[in-house]
Structures are given as C-alpha cells and as structure tokens.
Symmetry: C2
Subunit: 333 residues, 2 copies
C-alpha cells in the first residue's frame, strides 16, 4: 500500500534528511509533496534521483495527503498541523509543539511502539538527545528498573539547524585563513569552544533541552517517577550527539549484563574496546541510524552494585529526528 506523503520544512536540515531516509528505506510513497515557506517555494529538491518543486506551505496544502512529516519549528507545527489533520493526514511532528500534550503519543519505536496507534491525528517525535538516550537506557530499564539517570551531553552544532553547521565551518575557515572569527547566530563562538546548550534557561535552572530530556523520557517510558538530571553542552563538531550517562538501577547489575542486554537490543551497536581505546565517537556515528554504546562499566561511586556508567553517540538528525519519524510513519502504513 503506497501513501501520499508531505514533508513540511523540506529545505531544513531534518527536512533534507527526511528525503534521504524515505528513499533509503524504500518508503511506499505514491505522491510526494515538498512544502516550505514562501521564501523557499519554487526551489527544487531531489528525491530518489528525481527533482521535486518545493511548494509554499498553506492550510490548503494537505488535500489527499495521508502522512505529513513536519520539521519546520514549533510555531509552524502549531499553525499548520491542525489543517493537515482536518484534511485527513496523520502528522508526525518533529517539533516540541505537541510532545507533552495529553492524547499525543510521543514515540521512540524501540521503546513504546504501541503508543503510535493511540493518536488523534498527531504523533510527536521526541527531542534528539532524548531519543539517543532512550534507545540505550530502555532495554536496561525493561530488565532492571532504572530509578535515576545523570546525563551530560556533547552536542553537535547541526542540532541547532543547518545554520549551526555553516557557522562552525565559517569560523573554522576564518581561523585557518587568519581572519577574524565572526559569531552570527550562536550566542558564543563555537569554534575552539564549548558552551552550555543555547536554549532558554527555565526557572528551575535547567535549559529547555535539559528539561525535555527529563519530561519526555518520563512520558515515553510511561514512568512519571524516573528521576533524571541533565547537563546539555554544545561542542564544536558538525554532527552526532554524544552522552555520558550514569544510571542507577533498582537492583544490582554488572557491566557484563548491560553489555549482553544492549548487544541484543534494537537500534544499538556496542563499540566498547578498552584495549584499543576505541569507543563511540560522533565521527563514526554520523550519517547512520544506530546508537553506539560503550565505556560500559560498573559505577565505582556506589558500593551496592546498582550503578552503571556508559557513553553513547548517535546521529541526531537521523535517529534523533528524521529516521525516528520515518520509523513511526512505517508503522502507520
């Protein structure tokens, strides 16, 4: 069964990746509609070797569309998703607009695929850092309930959008040419620097990205009591987010047990070779769909055997966004 698919935000970093992933996975597309702002309308994009005209997104764009993949920011989703649903489409939304709304499934297919079918027209795709963490922590949670997670991230610039990548590259090239390093959209120079994630800091002292990791994980796991603290940090790399994760379990667990569980879990690859100092790295996790997990070891800051430290890395544009959304759409058709 083929379906009519619309991609909203077709010119963005995630929108472009939607096209790559849909083609790679042979998604059963009858008609493909590429939608973007008036500014991008009239440009073209390539899908499966064929050129498609990008049309301006309007509330009338969704006639006969069955699946609409949105990734054009929260305000666009809020404005246009209802029109898509009215026209009969199911929206898979990559923005944060509906994620925490009751009645909207928030889905990582490796974790809670059953939630997909409880939708009322909109299914939300979680935050990228949340997805990458959840793919690694959920298989463990199922075997030995996770009580607490302490996570620190190493996030790529393209998580902020395609402009993040342009800004890093411009600064890299300016440095090499001995020219002044200009900062444009990021609040601070990212080249040769590291800074706290560039999202608004809420009253609890956590920034939006960190609060998403906490609240979204609770919804996806269906466990409002799991305790999480996150520190989200940008690092000067183009792509793929990494996370240093400390996990506290209900019962004792060993590093070998964790390795065994994760080696059979979906969406994960174990890269854990201490002898060669070879562990998950964003350079290797970019442009592919698996979450790499390594540095798996007993937490030596506890004497009850209930702690594990690990380090994970995954492509935040693919599994952290486009691939996860397309996996959801695959289960819809």
């Amino acid at each position: 069964m083929s379906v009519n698919v619309a991609v909203v935000g077709a010119t963005g970093a995630v929108g472009q990746e939607f096209l790559t992933v849909l083609a790679e996975r042979n998604f059963p597309i009858k008609n493909l509609k590429l939608l973007a702002s008036a500014r991008s309308a009239g440009k073209t994009a390539t899908f499966n070797g064929k050129e498609y005209l990008i049309e301006e997104l309007t509330k009338d764009s969704f006639k006969d569309v069955q699946i609409a993949l949105f990734s054009a920011g929260g305000s666009i989703s809020k404005e246009f998703a209802p029109a898509a649903v009215s026209a009969g489409a199911v929206v898979v939304d990559n923005s944060s607009a509906f994620r925490m709304k009751e009645g909207v499934p928030l889905v990582v297919p490796e974790v809670n695929p059953e939630a997909i079918h409880k939708h009322n027209g909109v299914i939300a795709n979680p935050n990228c850092s949340t997805i990458i963490m959840n793919v690694a922590v959920w298989p463990l949670y199922k075997v030995n309930k996770v009580k607490r997670v302490i996570v620190s991230t190493y996030q790529a610039v393209s998580g902020a959008g395609a402009w993040g990548l342009y800004e890093l590259e411009a600064q890299q090239k300016a440095f090499a040419a001995g020219q002044p390093i200009l900062k444009e959209k990021f609040p601070h120079q990212i080249f040769n620097n590291v800074f706290s994630h560039n999202s608004k800091v809420a009253d609890n002292g956590y920034n939006e990205e960190e609060n998403k990791m906490v609240l979204e994980t609770r919804k996806i796991f269906g466990d409002p009591k799991i305790m999480i603290t996150a520190t989200c940090v940008r690092v000067p790399i183009p792509r793929a987010h990494s996370e240093s994760i400390n996990v506290e379990f209900e019962r004792p667990i060993t590093a070998d047990q964790v390795r065994q569980i994760l080696s059979k879990a979906p969406g994960i690859k174990i890269v854990d070779d201490p002898a060669n100092n070879y562990f998950p790295m964003p350079l290797e996790t970019s442009n592919q769909d698996l979450v790499y997990a390594g540095r798996i070891r007993q937490d030596i800051s506890r004497d009850d055997g209930k702690g594990i430290d690990l380090f994970v890395s995954g492509d935040q544009i693919r599994k952290g966004a486009a691939t996860n959304a397309v996996q959801i759409a695959e289960r819809l058709v």
Copy 2:
C-alpha cells in the same frame, strides 16, 4: 629571600607556562636554570625578557638548586627527582610519578596547603582535571560534607602536551584547505570529533585520567570515603578543561547557598547568568588562573534537596599545572 630555581622540561607546554607564571607572579628567583633533554639542550628560552640557555638534564644538574619544578613526564621524574632531592632541592613534580606515594604531599593550595610542609623533598602537583574539580568542590565540602561526585569532562587537546595543539591545528587547517585530515599521535581524529580520554583503560573500566580524579581527590581531601565516578572526554578545543559535576551532599543545600559559598572561595569566579545564557566557557578561561563556576542548580533528580549540578572550566596548563605548582613553591619560600 630569593632562591635558585630549576625548571625541568623547560620546552614543554607546562614548562613554558612555568616561565610565564614565575615571571607574572614575580617569583623571587636568584638564579634560574632551564633543563631539558639532550635534544633541546643548546636552544634558548625567554624569561622576563632575558634569554636563557637550555641545559641538558643530568643527575648533576641540581647543585645549589633550592626549588626544582618538574614537568617532563613520570619516567624523568622518577629518574631525576631523587638526584634533585639529594642535592638539597625541594621538587614540585607535575607528573603522576609520586602523587599517590605515601609521604609525598599532593597539594592544591586552596584545599590542603598545610600538607606542603610535611614533605620529604618531593611535593606532587595533582592531575589537571582533579585540580579544577577540587577548587570548586572543596569549599562546598567544608560547609556540607560531599558524599558522592559524578563528573563528565570536556578536555582540551593541549592537556596531552604541546603536540595535541599542533595536531588539532594541523587538522583544522587541512580541513579548511580541502586536504586529507591526518591523524598522528592521538588515537583518533580530534578535529570535528569527540573521543574518550586517550589514556590507558584499567581493569576497572576507567581510564587513567578518570582513576586519577577519584584517587587523587581522596588523598587531597583527606577523605578515603568520598565516592567519585568520572568520565573523561577529549573535545576539539585548544585549551582549558570543562567539567559537568553532579554533587551529593550529606545534608540538604540550595543553589543559592552554593553560589554564596563559591563567591567567597579562593581561586573561583562565578559566571552564572541564565538570562544571557552565559556560563563558564574554555574560550574565556584559557590563559588565566581562576576556575569559573556556573550552571549552579538544584539537582532535580533527587527529592531530598541534597544534590547540586554545576559546570566549571579552568585552564589546565595554568591552574591545572604550572600555576598550582608555582603556588606551592611560593609557600615553600
């Protein structure tokens, strides 16, 4: 009172910084002797605007030397520090050779200055990541005992030596010129990448850098029971290490209390401005001596009020090495 000072490893990253810091702080030097391997002997280095000939390090190098600052690696320290001590010098050693040895004080002057005077000829300078963490955690520990620390680091390439910086820069320039990116001494490409710290992984699954942070902190704090787990990671920046630190206290504590304690603590600067998303960054902590602390917030993964998250950054060649050693030497004279 002026003293005769020898710098061992005068051509290295820390050795060069010794000269800068000694000059900046007007260290009372009578005669300065610069020592290095035969390969560097005959070259010159500048101190206080004056050129000094670098001499070859031998066991006879320490006649009349009163203070010897060593930073040429553990094997050089093991071989030559005894000769310096025999000649009557006090050695302040930046290598890991003697740090955990009984009878050798391991000192962060902001934490345990009293230990300096218990030396038997050698005083050890702690690991850079340890020093930066300890400067921030100790003032809190004194007020409300710290039971457990979970730390993830963001470490600069120059922590590996001056060659780390050359390697990053060479890769940055190759990228900008469209040339192949060559990896030389690091086990993996560092440009546009992040990798687990390039030190040997021990049997407990932790690498040397991580085990140093645990064991050295216990010795410096004089608390063999403080529980610590660390994940040490290299990021593609030239200088200054940052650390995401989760602290568990014996009793409840608030973010405001932490801010107040640290604002009065020696060697720390609070940089904690959520409204402007402005927090400690290596770009700003490079080439100065303070440890910057920010992102100070209650740990929302606990409901007993006993947790705090914070993010710190400091120059690992200055406070993490040269400055700390010179501060020790200052207290000796």
